[in-house]
């Protein structure tokens, strides 16, 4: 738990981010360069130029390379998320934000210089090649079933495998590829595009906020120098854990921002639109949906802040972030669903961001671990604790 005083820095940045997003980024929400697979590269560059000029690019990483605390990050990313374009514009979007976090903690100075800095500067996008196709008994979201291999070859490693749902792979300049070496799971840093890393196809999915969309990727005889191993061979899962809880949480922060804005839009609509002789919000069916949203948004915020506090103590927060991710994804989906319903016909068109937020949050209930996987691990934790209580 952090005092108000300690959060002042984060509040100040968040306030600037909020004004910037509302004034400069929101007008781009109907830009024709927004495609089914996310905003086009040219649009991303244009938005980032605005953020750079405002001194707000990558606002959660300080000039000395330190990150804001997780609680401060929550304030900033919520503000960035007020538009689905905000996180991309400010360079706090997935997967770059999580990748920067992990590289900042594990990469060598040379690796940082070559791979991390361009991402931090908003000049390069990155992708995290972990998930594998479910068909053919690949890993899906279960990392222990990974089939991609890395075999040593002198100073080099040869990587082969198939990856699926790789967010932002199309157009990324930095790849972090997870493969199984003789020592175990290992991460390799790769310059992209690379002829051995082939985008098989970019999926058409219901979400559309992330540049490059989600790709199926084939890796055939990718040759990587051993200097490009992130950390040590065999410790890939350990590093993934470093990224895991914070990255779950930053998704929650961004989508909380988006749903907060959706609620504003829905409330504004409901006080203007009339039906059956009164404004929509005066109909209890509508007013109660918005009241439920008010409560749900507050609960999501409190869960995020709580989990951020735990992370700021230095704990890994594995189960806290599971609780938070499962609760926040489901809660925000209900919020977005109600906003759609309040908006009626306008809610299912692209005329406001409500429709997009609804689709995005639906997807969020699945990526970074479906709700059920988190509950499954929470049930195991409860079991373990009850057994300890009964026979200490």
């Amino acid at each position: 738990m952090q005092t108000e005083g300690a959060l002042a820095r984060g509040r100040e940045i968040a306030a600037r981010v909020e004004s910037f997003v509302r004034e400069r980024i929101v007008p781009y929400e109907h830009d024709p360069r927004l495609g089914a697979h996310g905003p086009a590269a040219e649009l991303v560059a244009e938005l980032r130029e605005l953020a750079r000029a405002a001194g707000l690019l990558t606002p959660h990483i300080l000039p000395d390379g330190c990150h804001l605390t997780h609680r401060e990050t929550a304030l900033v990313l919520r503000a960035a998320g007020l538009s689905p374009l905000g996180p991309v514009a400010l360079n706090v979007a997935a997967p770059d934000e999580g990748n920067m976090y992990m590289l900042g903690r594990i990469a060598t100075p040379e690796q940082k210089e070559h791979f991390l800095n361009p991402i931090v500067e908003g000049r390069a996008r990155s992708a995290f090649f972990m998930t594998e196709p479910a068909s053919g008994n690949g890993a899906g979201s279960d990392p222990s079933m990974m089939k991609t291999t890395a075999e040593p070859d002198g100073d080099y490693w040869i990587v082969n495998g198939r990856k699926a749902f790789i967010t932002g792979a199309d157009g990324a300049r930095v790849g972090i590829v997870m493969a199984k070496s003789p020592e175990g799971a290992t991460m390799f840093l790769v310059d992209l595009p690379h002829p051995a890393v082939r985008i098989v196809r970019v999926l058409d999915t219901i979400d559309s906020s992330m540049p490059g969309g989600h790709a199926v990727v084939a890796i055939d005889n990718l040759r990587v120098h051993r200097n490009q191993i992130l950390g040590e061979s065999g410790l890939g899962f350990k590093y993934a854990q470093v990224r895991l809880a914070p990255a779950r949480l930053t998704h929650c922060m961004r989508w909380l921002g988006a749903c907060t804005r959706a609620q504003e839009i829905a409330a504004d609509y409901a006080v203007r639109r009339e039906a059956f002789g009164k404004t929509l919000i005066e109909h209890e069916g509508v007013g109660f949906m918005l009241a439920d949203n008010l409560i749900d948004l507050k609960q999501a915020e409190l869960m995020i802040d709580w989990c951020a506090d735990v992370l700021d103590t230095g704990a890994s927060a594995i189960s806290e972030s599971s609780m938070t991710k499962a609760a926040v994804a489901e809660t925000l989906f209900r919020v977005a669903d109600r906003c759609v319903q309040v908006m009626g016909g306008s809610g299912v068109t692209g005329d406001t961001i409500v429709e997009q937020v609804f689709r995005e949050v639906r997807a969020f209930r699945i990526y970074d671990g479906p709700t059920e996987v988190h509950k499954w691990s929470l049930a195991r934790k409860i079991r373990k604790e009850a057994l300890q209580r009964l026979s200490p």
Partner: protein, 412 residues
Amino acid sequence: MDFAYSARTEALRAQVRRFMDDYVTPAIPRWQSDIEAGESHPRCIEELKELARAENLWNLFLPGLRADEPGQALSNLEYAPLAEIMGRVVWASEVFNCSAPDTGNMEILHLFATPQQREQWLQPLLEGRIRSCFAMTEPDVASSDATNIQTSIRREGDEYVINGRKWFISGAAHPHCKVAIVMGVSDPDGEPHRRHSMVLTPLDAPGVSIVRNIPVMHHLSPEGHCEIVFRDVRVPAANIIHEEGAGFAIAQARLGPGRIHHCMRSIGQCEAALELMCGRAAERRTFGRPLHQHGVVAEWIALSRIEIDQARLLVLKAAWMIDQYGAKAAAREIAMIKALVPRVQTAVCDRAMQTFGAMGLSNDTPLASLWTWGRVLRIADGPDEVHLRTVARQEMKAASELRAAVVKSRAS
């Protein structure tokens, strides 16, 4: 009381199912590639229509179909299970000349068309030579309260002059769509339920412009959910349907059977989604066992089955009531299924998507698209809240009659 389909219905179900298996399902890839190539009316449709008409699987939705009109007349109860089967493939209804909004339009014309209207519009519709749309919803007012409709239909000599903006006009982008039934205000000073009229308006009339095909939930329908502007559009006075001031009453009457059709198609989509979910649950393993052995997935399957079976029974009962007592007597049941079935569809599809994980978010299965369509249906044709309101009013009325009867019987 009997829960078995009649022998005739069973025979027709088998025939439609076989038709779907033999002709429609195999055509899906061709349809898909035509659509991806930008074709708004894939060629396979016209071929399949000929086959369906040859089997007399044609105009099955219209109980009042006359002997000299093409197709076979079925009751709502007979047609409902066929609509369920057709609904499993989103574009299949057109093959049997049973697609919305033409079905509702044909119903109206069947009731009210003048001989000239019949020849010009109804006959080609019944033969599947043209298609039509129904222009009621407006962007600027809450159209679920039909008395809000603002488009103006002004009489000028032998013509009506139409001015207004409509949106979510389904089917208007279909290349065969030739005519819109437009609802608007003809008598602004009239009694609220006698203010509106409907006029047949050719889409090629000067002043009609399709402004855009609105992507609904990020999905662009080839047939379109269009926004249409009518600017000083002139149509002959003879294009009025029934009579001036009848618009509201016709709109009410039109909704009953159409909702049954929509709901039964949705039930078919639920069944398709549940089948996919069961298939995935049988094949995919996580944490050392197949998904269906995970309790939560098993529970989803069971709840889906319960919800689908219940919803189907209620829709069939509503169809039966329309057949037996007319759409007005079935108003409560129709409102109930309209509020219920889209919720069931989104719930079932949502679980199926969740069972597929990330793949469920992609177009590699039809689930995401069925789910978003179900979500749209919770709003289209009146949001849930409006229908629940109708149900509640009817229930309050029935309950107060019952209380009055009890009081009376105690007094006597």
